[in-house]
Symmetry: C2
Subunit: 872 residues, 2 copies
């Protein structure tokens, strides 16, 4: 009875889990004891100490859940990595300044020092990354987004990549180019999590679970942002927005935990290193709290937001334009492909020449590093008010913004324009680098510009009630930074990041308003920077359903699905399999009960089918056939009883060969799929030996293709080969006559029914209904990370929807240029086969099933149903 | 060919969407023109003005996407509601204070005024809510969580509930009881969204889409928290954590937009009302920014966090205990059921007596409102340092904490203890109320206590480097508030809420650490307050997979699924349907191809089957049968040709009746499912007339049950009914003899095969595989909001998993007390039917299918397969 077992299920699940855990512990305990034994053999005083360590570790692992230990370790490691990297970058930048400062007698030498340093560092970074792991190039967020969608990207989470990314990133940032650390840090954290997971799997079993790994990667992304900016909350939110479409709230927890721990350690390290007195924000601001801004300043903040939106879209567009341009110019491309390091070197040379402080750099505060620039933007002074500001004597970095001849506004405008294209260009360099920080900086500069203008316009503030509250340009810088970075990345959590970065939340409403406006503008113009890179790199992706696209609610799966599904039936023969493999190129194929019923039973991977087919036509089976045949022939020959010496020689070698092959064939049923072929006696024949790779081109008469592979080539070889090699060669293909017989044999083999017994079938592929809306389909695809889904109607397969169709339908983009063609599916709809009403069509479908059922007992009359038409 | 249509799909989808949109517009345009026509008839000067308004509205709706208009409207309305409510509450509280202050000559009068006021308000609130909409009682967050899971709760989103909630909440909070506004506000915002959605659907079509409504509800929850605390970010995050398991990042956007707008308007209203000079935080703090806290204070913060964790768990436990106690005590229960308003009145009396300022209230700052108390806790002074603090003269609300005889520590401890049980008790009152704010207050008190202790312990601060940084107890209060409210609600976003509430983020790390520790402790001890209420109210829910439950990764669906699935086959007869309906009580039943193949075709709702069955045995068909039979009998009778007068009379009435029934039967094929029965001539016979509601009890011989309904009751009636009524009554059941014939007829009907043509079938119910892990199952269930899923193996139905099994497996809770029974599924596993290996079992399954296929052509031999055994 239904529900009979449910009450005791809890007990069972608990016991089962306990059993598994126990066995795991036992196993790990035995491992541990083996380790202990090994340690005994070790000589030295610390052996006992180690034993205790191991025991302690064992206790730790067995007692407390591994989840939080993993997260703490991850946070710790990432905080250390981040801190060490920051330390190295600071040293690099200091060294450049020191060199530049020391050579102030000669401008040329100064220039050389200023320029050579970054060129060398960037070139090294590019070269190192190229050699060790080219996957480390770039931000890493687009790849992480893809990986978290469930796609496996090879080599993206290896130790090599980790090393390349960390060292490459340190060098790239140490060069002083307008590059960021935040995007790559997401990748570094994920790498770290993946490696830590592998390392931890030595101790426990759960680290091998795939869904757990994905969860941990999601947490790692949060850690990456969190420990980069010491912004745990912003880190979690930013990583969610950037990498996920759907987010599990339970992961959120993990992210918070790890990111907080990481940010904490990161800042504690700064305190221990006496950089800071206590734990504070990274770019601490000191705006007044009692009256942070006036209500009447809000329109100015809104303007900052809207302008940032346009700026962000422009940045993404510019970035893509550069990449596409570099790719399209074949002459440049060829040249650069040869000298891979030339492009980064040239770009670096160009950028660093322009920022040379005694040169053009004096108009754009070229001598300041990114950090110093940002601190200058966020400071509490007003640069434009000459009278009052003079008193403060332009302390520290603000000094750089005062130019004797040029107003601060001009400097800011030049800074914004120059940095804009420089950042867009620099982020296309083949080094590990992010775009967040440069964009953040430009945004801050723009905000500062607006703020300074406002301060110049209203020197005594806007407030009319007597009390003078002067305008704070630093607040505008904060708003601008959040807005522009939000526009480029299409996130709102940059707002939270700036609060955590500056340690002040007093400007929350202006920041939120600006960020939302910037997002609204940017999202309607361009994809986010990461999505743009995903499209450039052609990674598998699914576009978001944007705002206000309410027409998406009206499109149904039946409008977008492909009705002409490739399928195989349960009782098909190998020839059908072969035909299906030849004509389609999908990764998975639907398995239906029969062509008439079309009841979906499951889906099979293409590779499984290929191995099935190659097994059926395998050498072992062929050889077995030949042996049988030859035994029969032998009998016939012995009856004729007049063999020539050459013939017997040949036969002897055949017999030796056959013995080996017999062994093979006796083995093959046990592990039949991916068998390594025996090393061929003749090297040339390896061409023949390779497993069947059926060409996926548009072959129509398929039988010939196979014959090409198996039969026709040996012909040519048999004439090419030297006479002395003939006998061993003929072991495989005894004679031209025999080859023909093999072809015949193959034809026979192809007509046999397929035996799916050893085939791995996914018995529950995801199914949709015709009436499922596009909106729901999108949700399901992105929720479950699907690649395709079958559309069924009462068990009957009627179509398939893959990521491609969905993408097309959502984007509504037309790749067919020129003539507007009538949508081919319209005809389907017009003819009314399925389009009318759901219940009606369902009834029709059911009728067919019904008829089929009746026809089992009755003499079957062939009704030319839809499914029959399709199966042809 | 696969992919043939994909290129032009985009075009098609676009055109299709455009067509649909256009037709929608056309429709709405015609609606609009009708409205215009109507308006023309209206007399008055503003008609033209209205036409312009309508046109303008039309333009707005057609031009800009409705999404953000909806969100802005929602934000605006909620901000207004929140502000007006706050205003009313403030007036109520002021009135109480004024009454209390005015009567300071007589303590008894003062006491009466102090007590009567809240009792009246709470009683009114309880009564009003009870009468208008009992659904408005309580927080609303548990219900919203359930609704967002996809469950339809009736009456929870109606206008009545809205009115009841808003007015009830205002009164409840105006009484000064320790109740919160935040939880109910989530509900109010959702109500507002639902009503607004209904209102907007008058203009456009998309507002009727269900998934869109759910998205809007999710955004509304964010708005609710956001405009309650003027905390947009915290609001979004809190609402996500509290209501969702999986969250779509696209909703996040909506939430941010609406919540920011709402918070903005909410604060702007305060500025316009001259309450504030500019937009600032609700409970603004003014801690020092340069050195917010010392690193060495972190252990103290951690202690606050851990203690809050225990406190939070205790609060949830206490709250549940009170509810369960009230329910279990039948004597109390009965009494309270009669006098529903007595319980709230008594509780209010008790609580307000204890807080009476001249009485016990003097030891717990009873005269302060919640808001004043919180402001006092967050202030920048140190109460315990008598020497220094004397200078400040205990300004404002801090005055209340100084008691001439008792130390401030004692006052704080008394406050915490008293408020703790008061809040736990008060939140069980049948009025609209939340627990967040009271808990937040207790947390702040606890934090303040620790902070004051620290300040007393280290009067010159901990920092050793010369500069004296005194300890800020207000910072501890902030940490405590976030930690305790986080522990009770199981959220980390309370951290963000306190930053936004206080306008300072300088304590970010202590707050984060404390909140995370509090959560870790509380989550391991108790469910969250909302989950606790969900369980008490027995709403459908799915528990979360907690931390470190890594054994969950090892449990598979095959361990928890119910193997004995109730199913119906495509070629079953009505008797089978009847049997299935009698024995099970599931909402949906699986439809399989046949009992042998067990190929899952879809699922059918129970109600559909019931209507199928009742249609088969319907009165119209029965009457038709009777007519046919009577016609036959007539012939027979006319042959006998000696009718009595009574007989002819009866026959005449039968004939009239038959005419009607003929009309009926000619109609029935067109719309057969839910047909309203004709009004019966005799009222008594409605018992017979009602649609078949098959009893779900454990009936074994099912046939009798139906006979009870159809045949046996008329027997008794025919003797009870008066003679004059007999003829019309006999129209239905002409004679006892005839009843027997009807039973015979029904038996015959039951043996007919079911015709599923007009039945609504879900052709793609969600399917899992045996090897799906519990973890993945949980993910899928919570992602898609499933109620149950079928477990299939290559198309064959082998089990079903419902929410119940999943819940049991996750909680591992044993409801069977006493003897430990062997889990019944263990035997399944031991016998090795499925337990061994996936590929092997799959192969077996396939073999069966295979055999079946062969047997179609060959003479079938019955193999007693697993499925056959189950189908019995």
């Amino acid at each position: 009875m239904y529900g009979r077992y449910t009450q005791e299920l809890g007990v069972y699940a608990k016991e089962e889990a306990a059993r598994l855990r126990e066995s795991g512990q036992r196993r790990s305990a035995s491992d541990r004891s083996r380790t202990l034994d090994l340690l005994e053999y070790e000589k030295g005083r610390c052996a006992k100490c180690r034993i205790y360590t191991v025991r302690c570790q064992k206790f730790l692992i067995s007692r407390v859940g591994e989840d939080w230990i993993f997260l703490i370790l991850l946070g710790l490691v990432m905080a250390l990595v981040s801190w060490v990297m920051d330390f190295c970058i600071a040293i690099c930048l200091q060294a450049q300044k020191w060199m530049y400062g020391g050579l102030d007698s000669n401008v040329l030498l100064q220039y050389l020092a200023w320029v050579t340093y970054p060129v060398v560092l960037i070139t090294f970074s590019a070269g190192f990354t190229q050699i060790l792991a080219p996957q480390a190039v770039g931000s890493g967020i687009p790849e992480m987004k893809t990986i978290l969608r469930g796609v496996v990207l090879k080599e993206y989470l290896t130790f090599k990549t980790f090393v390349a990314k960390v060292i490459g990133l340190t060098c790239a940032l140490g060069s002083g180019m307008p590059l960021g650390k935040e995007g790559p840090f997401v990748h570094v954290a994920s790498l770290c999590a993946a490696l830590l997971s592998k390392f931890m799997s030595l101790f426990g079993g759960i680290y091998e679970n795939e869904s757990r790994n994905i969860e941990m990667l999601a947490a790692a992304c949060a850690v990456g942002v969190g420990c980069c900016f010491a912004a745990p909350i912003g880190g979690v939110l930013f990583s969610i927005e950037v990498t996920s479409t759907f987010f599990a709230v339970r992961n959120y927890w993990r992210g918070f935990f790890a990111a907080t721990f990481s940010a904490f350690i990161f800042r504690v390290l700064a305190v221990w290193n006496r950089d800071e007195e206590t734990i504070t924000a990274l770019f601490k601001t000191n705006f007044r709290l009692d009256f942070p801004f006036d209500l009447q300043e809000l329109p100015a903040f809104a303007v900052v937001g809207i302008a940032s939106g346009f700026g962000g879209a422009l940045f993404v567009y510019l970035n893509r334009l550069i990449v596409v341009f570099m790719r399209k110019q074949k002459a440049i491309n060829k040249f650069l492909m040869k000298k891979r390091l030339l492009f980064p070197a040239l770009v670096t040379l160009c950028i660093s020449t322009l920022t040379f402080p005694p040169g053009f750099g004096q108009f754009m505060a070229g001598q300041l590093t990114q950090k110093e620039t940002l601190q200058a933007f966020f400071d509490n002074l007003t640069w434009s008010k000459q009278g009052l500001a003079e008193e403060f004597d332009y302390m520290g970095h603000s000094q750089a913004w005062r130019h004797p001849q040029v107003s601060v506004f001009v400097v800011l405008v030049i800074f914004i324009i120059m940095k804009f294209w420089m950042s867009a260009l620099a982020t296309t360099l083949p080094v590990p680098c992010g775009a967040f920080m440069p964009v953040f900086l430009i945004g801050a500069a723009f905000g500062r510009l607006v703020g300074e203008s406002m301060a110049a316009w209203f020197p005594d503030g806007i407030h009319s009630d007597g009390t003078i509250y002067p305008i704070v340009p630093g607040g505008y810088a904060v708003v601008g930074a959040a807005a522009l970075s939000g526009a480029v990345t299409h996130t709102v959590s940059t707002a939270v990041i700036v609060f955590e970065l500056t340690g002040q939340i007093s400007h929350i409403l202006p920041v939120m308003i600006a960020v939302i406006l910037a997002n609204a503008v940017a999202q309607s113009l361009q994809p986010s920077l990461y999505d743009s890179i995903i499209r450039i790199k052609k990674l598998p992706y699914l576009p978001e359903l944007g705002w206000g696209h309410h027409e998406k609610y009206n499109i149904r799966v039946e409008d977008i699905m492909v009705r002409d599904v490739r399928y195989i039936t349960l009782n098909c023969c190998y020839r059908d399999l072969h035909n299906v493999l030849l004509t389609g190129h999908l990764k998975t194929l639907a398995l239906v009960e029969s062509a008439e019923s079309m009841i979906l039973l499951g889906s099979i991977e293409r590779s499984q089918l290929q191995s099935l087919l190659s097994q059926q036509l395998s050498r072992t089976r062929r050889l077995e056939y030949i042996r049988e045949r030859s035994v029969a022939e032998k009998k016939r020959l012995s009856e004729v009883s007049n063999p020539s010496s050459e013939d017997s020689n040949m036969r002897a070698s055949q017999e030796v060969r056959f013995q080996i092959s017999t062994e093979e064939s006796s083995l093959s049923p046990a592990r039949p799929v991916s068998q390594k072929p025996l090393k061929p006696a003749l090297k040339r024949s390896s061409v023949v030996e390779r497993p069947i790779e059926i060409p996926t081109g548009p072959h129509d008469n398929s039988g010939i293709a196979l014959k090409n592979l198996f039969c026709l080539r040996p012909f040519s070889f048999s004439f090419v080969g030297k006479p002395s090699m003939m006998p061993s060669f003929l072991t495989y293909f005894p004679s031209p006559l025999c080859v023909l017989q093999i072809a015949e044999w193959e034809e026979k083999q192809l007509d046999e029914q397929v035996n799916f017994n050893n085939c791995k079938i996914d018995p529950a592929p995801f199914q949709l209904v015709e009436r499922t809306s596009l909106h729901k389909t999108h949700t399901i695809f992105s929720l479950l990370g699907l690649d395709h889904a079958y559309v069924t109607s009462i068990g009957r397969l009627i179509g398939v929807v893959s990521l491609k169709e969905l993408r097309k339908a959502i984007e509504g983009s037309v790749t067919v240029k020129g003539v507007k063609v009538r949508p081919p599916l319209a005809s389907f709809r017009d003819s009314g086969t399925t389009g009318t009403s759901s219940s009606e069509s369902e009834a029709t479908e059911l009728h067919k099933l019904w008829d089929r059922h009746r026809s089992i007992s009755l003499p079957r009359e062939h009704v030319p149903s839809e499914s029959d038409e399709k199966s042809q």
